[in-house]
């Protein structure tokens, strides 16, 4: 046979195109499909990149230990680039195209609400591993992150006792910020304080000058921040540049989970107080081993670890525990196993699924920022998601698939 250029290219490209399909099918025959959709570029990458790192680590560890039920886990990662439109596109791709066994996805509450109905409709098990405002009541959706009753409820009285009762609230302008601001108002009032003002910021605002002047005018005892994303980091810089961090301290429900404490200088961040279900600085053997494995894996490029990154890892393991217990990766069997009280003892301590809400009972830590690292001040063990428990009971009615706080706390019957 004469080998000419055209023939060669045609044959070679046909082979090149066909081979991934063959390999793909061979793996797909016995792999369990795990899809992760997390922002790795644009404004929300500060959250998404470490989460993807730890998700990969969890899956690699499980595979290295022989996989699940003797089958390997096939991990597929999509980057929705901080765009809600891409979230819905990839969610449909994961459910209908990849036929995923489980999807771990979403960072902002806006993205979660965009894709949650897709997974309900296609009956694909869905994990959301990010701290959020509470209120999701969906049999198909497991929310393993901390919620305001677990964290903000501890943070508000602690900081009010320390600093004073007048609280100025600043928050990101979408459902997370709006609803979290209402929780803060509620807890401030519950503790006899006064939420003097609440302000919301679109995610791309970088000039916080007028707000800093308003804070100076209002003279609160403290500022509570629920700011989100890369652009909002400039608030903390400008606040410090105006000398405000010395006079009016900041507590936050979001600072640090995007490793913001590594983005601003020690002097700019010192003294801030936060509460999450995980800090890299937690002092126990399991966490130290986890941090070491992570650093060994990524070397000098390893980002700092925070609740989002740790929970993405633990979320993967909780699902794996449930698959083992169910003896299959089939959706309903895994959901039943999860709701039977599956737990995982990870770097943050024990995380256990709470069956009435599909949320997690978990440890919560309160910490103060000093020289770019968090010093843990208080530990609250095994905290239930009491906010979501107020409005959700999946044991009584498992057919639910709603977000109860969609129209705010008042609409859900909670006094603020």
């Amino acid at each position: 046979m004469k080998l000419n250029r055209r023939h060669f290219i045609a044959t070679a490209s046909a082979a090149a195109l066909a081979s991934p399909a063959i390999i793909g099918r061979a793996l797909a025959a016995d792999g369990i499909k795990f899809v992760s959709i997390l922002d790795q570029s644009n404004g929300l990458d500060i959250y998404g990149k470490p989460m993807v790192d730890t998700t990969r680590m969890a899956v690699d560890e499980i595979n290295a230990a022989g996989g699940l039920l003797g089958r390997p886990i096939d991990l597929k990662v999509y980057d929705p680039q901080s765009s809600i439109q891409l979230y819905t596109q990839f969610a449909t791709q994961a459910a209908a195209g990849d036929r995923a066994d489980v999807v771990h996805a979403g960072i902002t509450s806006a993205s979660r609400e965009a894709i949650r109905p897709t997974f309900s409709r296609f009956q694909v098990l869905y994990f959301y591993n990010v701290l959020y405002e509470g209120g999701v009541c969906d049999i198909n959706n497991f929310c393993t992150g901390s919620t305001p009753a677990q964290t903000v409820e501890k943070l508000v009285p602690y900081t009010m006792n320390k600093w004073g009762k007048k609280v100025y609230i600043i928050a990101a302008d979408y459902n997370y910020g709006q609803i979290t601001a209402q929780w803060v108002q509620k807890y401030v009032r519950d503790n006899g304080g006064d939420p003097v003002a609440t302000e919301f910021f679109p995610l791309d605002v970088t000039n916080f000058g007028p707000t800093i002047k308003k804070i100076q005018q209002a003279r609160p005892d403290m500022v509570m921040s629920a700011l989100v994303g890369g652009a909002h980091v400039s608030f903390y810089r400008q606040y410090a540049a105006a000398g405000m961090n010395a006079s009016i301290p900041i507590a936050s429900t979001t600072f640090g989970v995007g490793n913001e404490h590594k983005l601003i200088s020690a002097e700019e961040g010192n003294g801030m107080i936060c509460a999450y279900s995980y800090f890299e600085e937690i002092d126990n053997a399991a966490n130290k081993a986890f941090v070491k494995r992570f650093r060994d894996r990524l070397g000098a490029d390893a980002p700092a670890l925070n609740e989002l990154a740790a929970r993405a890892y633990e979320g993967a393991y909780i699902w794996a525990e449930a698959v083992k217990q169910a003896g299959t990766a089939e959706r309903m069997a895994v959901i039943e196993a999860l709701r039977s009280g599956v737990h995982y003892d990870g770097p943050s301590g024990r995380v256990q699924i709470e069956p009435r809400t599909n949320h997690a009972n978990q440890n919560v830590y309160l910490a103060e920022l000093k020289d770019q690292s968090f010093q843990i001040l208080e530990t609250y063990e095994n905290q239930p998601p009491t906010d979501t428990l107020l409005v959700c009971d999946l044991v009584k009615d498992p057919s639910q698939s709603t977000f109860k706080f969609e129209n705010g706390l008042k609409a859900a019957g909670i006094d603020i």
Binding site: Q216, A241, A242, I264, D301
Partner: protein
């Protein structure tokens, strides 16, 4: 009283901020009719120059005031030689090409420095106390720099031979060419200067806003709105549009909140362009530069 003074300074800073991010774009757009969609990325590159330089032990003032404009200015000249000069007079093509350039810059910087660089440079200069209020000394410095930049631009255009030739080329390129002016050279210098001013702005803003590969997107819309609202005259247009839009934004943001403040800025720009389609300098200050 303290509040009025400190708020006035804050609003002045808002105006200076707009002028600072728009000036480089105004030079390129006003003089050359080139729509540079990579303007935001030039700002970002200025910021990264400062971050990389200070991390390597360079004095922050030298990094901001010398290195940032120099590096981005050189990048600007290279871009003009390789890309822009083939596309003069083809507005849509330039638009696409510079948009591609902007994506390329974001991609390159992300792969070089990661999606979120740890920029721990704090704004230098201390705090200014006005009665019960405090302002950032660095923001005051930026106001002064912006004013000086506008004055320098005025002087360069009005008093130097290069300024005269540049203004001539801007008014009628063919006639200038016929009179022996090398218009391609003028365009190259102008684009380089525009890029340098943009780099300077990006470098100066880095300590207050932080630097991310995608930070350009935050600036680009505002810069365009300011330049278009300003109209034909580069300096007067940019300055007057910054004063108007920055003032509206600052006052409304203080009275209501940042969301409405941003909306007010955009509404002001829309109303302005409805009443004065050729921008502020199409109606007022028509003899301005």
């Amino acid at each position: 009283m303290d509040l009025v003074v400190s708020l006035a300074l804050q609003i002045l800073y808002g105006m200076a901020n707009l002028a600072l991010i728009s000036l480089g774009l105004a030079i390129v757009f006003g003089m050359m009719r080139v729509i540079n969609l990579a303007h935001g990325e030039f700002l970002m590159l200025g910021g990264y120059t400062v971050v990389v330089a200070t991390n390597n032990g360079v004095n922050i003032w030298i990094a901001m005031l010398v290195l940032a404009p120099l590096v981005v200015g050189v990048i600007g000249v290279v871009v003009e030689r390789l890309l822009i000069r083939w596309l003069y007079g083809r507005m849509i093509d330039t638009l696409l090409a510079t948009w591609g350039l902007s994506l390329l810059c974001i991609g390159l910087v992300t792969s070089l420095f990661g999606a979120s660089t740890a920029t721990t440079i704090s704004p230098p200069l201390g705090v200014i106390t006005i009665g019960a209020y405090t302002s950032s000394g660095y923001e005051m410095f930026l106001i002064v720099v912006t004013a000086l930049l506008l004055l320098a631009g005025y002087a360069a255009l009005k008093l130097t031979p290069l300024g005269l030739v540049a203004r001539g080329t801007m008014q009628n390129a063919e006639m200038s060419s016929a009179l022996g002016v090398s218009t391609p050279r003028i365009y190259m210098i102008t684009f380089g200067l525009g890029a340098a001013v943009t780099g300077l702005a990006g470098g100066l803003l880095a300590p207050i806003t932080g630097v991310l590969p995608t930070i350009g997107a935050v600036y680009i819309a505002k810069a365009f709105i300011t330049v278009i609202s300003g109209g034909m005259a580069i300096l007067t247009g940019t300055a007057s549009a910054s004063v108007l839009l920055g003032g509206v934004n600052g006052i409304v943001a203080f009275l209501t909140g940042p969301t409405i403040g941003e909306v007010a800025l955009l509404v002001a720009a829309i109303v302005l362009l409805r009443l004065m389609p050729r921008g502020i300098t199409g109606t007022f200050f028509r003899k301005g530069l």
